[in-house]
Symmetry: C2
Subunit: 305 residues, 2 copies
């Protein structure tokens, strides 16, 4: 039986990284969909422009394609807006419509992109088996609700499913408001940047590694939630320091000597990666220094055009 993958959100930050990996896999026939065709696609990609909000179009498309695997990475992702946007409700509905269409076409395995925001962040470790769920924001709540329905639906339809919880993904192509591009641009503009707080740990994963990890989970028999992360937590301060050093602007960055957290700031969020590693053998290709280098390089190139 051949592996025919339907990949949604294929023009997005995460989706396009997955597409690159899947399109190189000789065992996989990948069909990428998104609202509008990107300028650059991996050679030989089968692309279809499809709006997941057009329910009957989705049903028609999936029923004709009959994919064996579904990797659903599409969702509202507008920075600053996705957290509380009412569009989260539409994305739950569109995802459920997609699930039913996939099941009707005899689909076998589903991987959907979830979020670290499903976890109780007050815990020292985010572990799939033991950390309590406490979804935050309309975004976290909507993703979590979709996961609950997915689990119950798959239980009775005998489809296999996994749920990829992403943490901090960075790299070329991320929105300019995010941590890395924001600091690169401020520092390159010769602003003197005061950095306060940031003592908490985060797991930063290069987007190319996120893509290969998702592809690995899709191909594995792993079931249920799976953390997608590097396994190397560093402080936000350390991440920003590395950025400043790489672009030669360490002198512009002033770390304030505060030790307390700003109100509303999160505690450390450290994912356990045993399930991912033991279940797939996957390991990241990039360490933080190399990963930040590619991201900075891409931003520098963009500024010089």
């Amino acid at each position: 039986m051949s592996t025919r993958v339907l990949l949604t959100g294929a023009s997005g930050f995460i989706g396009s990284a997955v597409l690159k990996v899947l399109s190189k896999d000789p065992e996989i026939e990948v069909h990428a969909v998104g609202r509008s065709k990107p300028n650059k696609l991996p050679t030989g990609t089968a692309w279809t422009s499809l709006d997941l909000m057009s329910f009957s179009d989705v049903r028609d498309f999936v029923s004709a394609l009959r994919p064996s695997h579904l990797l659903h990475s599409a969702w509202i992702a507008t920075h600053g807006d996705y957290w509380s946007s009412p569009n989260n409700l539409d994305w739950v509905g569109a995802s459920l419509n997609l699930l039913r269409a996939f099941q009707s076409g005899k689909g076998q395995r589903i991987l959907i992109v979830g979020t670290s925001a499903e976890y109780d962040w007050s815990r020292p470790l985010s572990d799939e088996n033991n950390t309590p769920i406490c979804p935050k924001g309309l975004y976290g709540v909507s993703k979590n609700a979709l996961r609950e329905i997915l689990a119950s639906y798959c239980l009775q339809t005998e489809m296999s499913w996994a749920w990829a919880r992403l943490f901090c993904v960075y790299g070329p192509g991320e929105p300019p408001e995010k941590l890395l591009p924001k600091y690169v641009n401020r520092l390159l503009n010769n602003e003197s940047v005061a950095f306060s707080g940031g003592h908490e740990l985060r797991d930063f994963l290069h987007v190319t590694d996120a893509g290969s990890a998702l592809a690995a989970v899709l191909k594995s028999p792993l079931s249920g939630p799976v953390n997608i992360a590097s396994g190397q937590a560093v402080s936000i301060r350390q991440f920003v320091r590395e950025i400043a050093e790489q672009i030669g602007r360490s002198n512009n960055l002033v770390f304030e000597n505060d030790t307390s957290r700003a109100p509303g700031e999160l505690s450390s969020v450290v994912p356990c990666v045993s399930k991912l590693r033991n279940g797939t053998g996957w390991l990241p290709n990039w360490n933080l220094t190399e990963g930040i280098a590619t991201a900075c390089h891409s931003l520098l190139n963009a500024r010089n055009i």
Copy 2:
């Protein structure tokens, strides 16, 4: 500000009972919708045939009506099928579409019909504040997921919301496969019926009382989940005995002397009704004897036509 209620599922078992109550309330202007118009409607009811699966029709209708209140009782309710039907996924999507339309039209208060199947039934009492959630079946999971999204959505939109958890509702108009009509019909057919098990407690609520309780919660400021129940738990055995007595067929009913539960049979499910009573002052109108009498009367009439 007038109270303009949009009532969905208005031709259903529960919805039509609510409609009767709301249509008599001088402070309320009720707009009933359902897929097809029922033969009998309370005098002066404003009815619109509307398929909630037609998302754009729903948005157009709600945007023109601009109701202040939403009582959403529509859902798949086919006996024996609703528990695991994939249509549950469609109903989540349709409900989310309805919520967004209602909010866009400046709606203020939402009451949605939930289910006792959201509770962990292994607990002696189902209490809104203290009993853990453990939704069962694709039905229970889907309703519960909708509730989680509703709570988060209302938090940021400042709409008020309540969630009516129904337990065992019986009475005229219930599907023939349910406990009361099933036993009435078997006993009236002069079958000798052996009844085993049924020692567990249930809270049976007459459908007319369910209608008045839902209307009371809608008009109240109660927030979050609210159990809708009589407050009088009886054993299933006692309920069936009452049925047999009322139709004069006690001799046809043989209670087997077993004390153990059949595998898969539920333990007692006893709802706490303090929140409902303290928050609305509502009390049931019917005791079990009177309630069963009206239900049996209606079934006897139907057989004699």
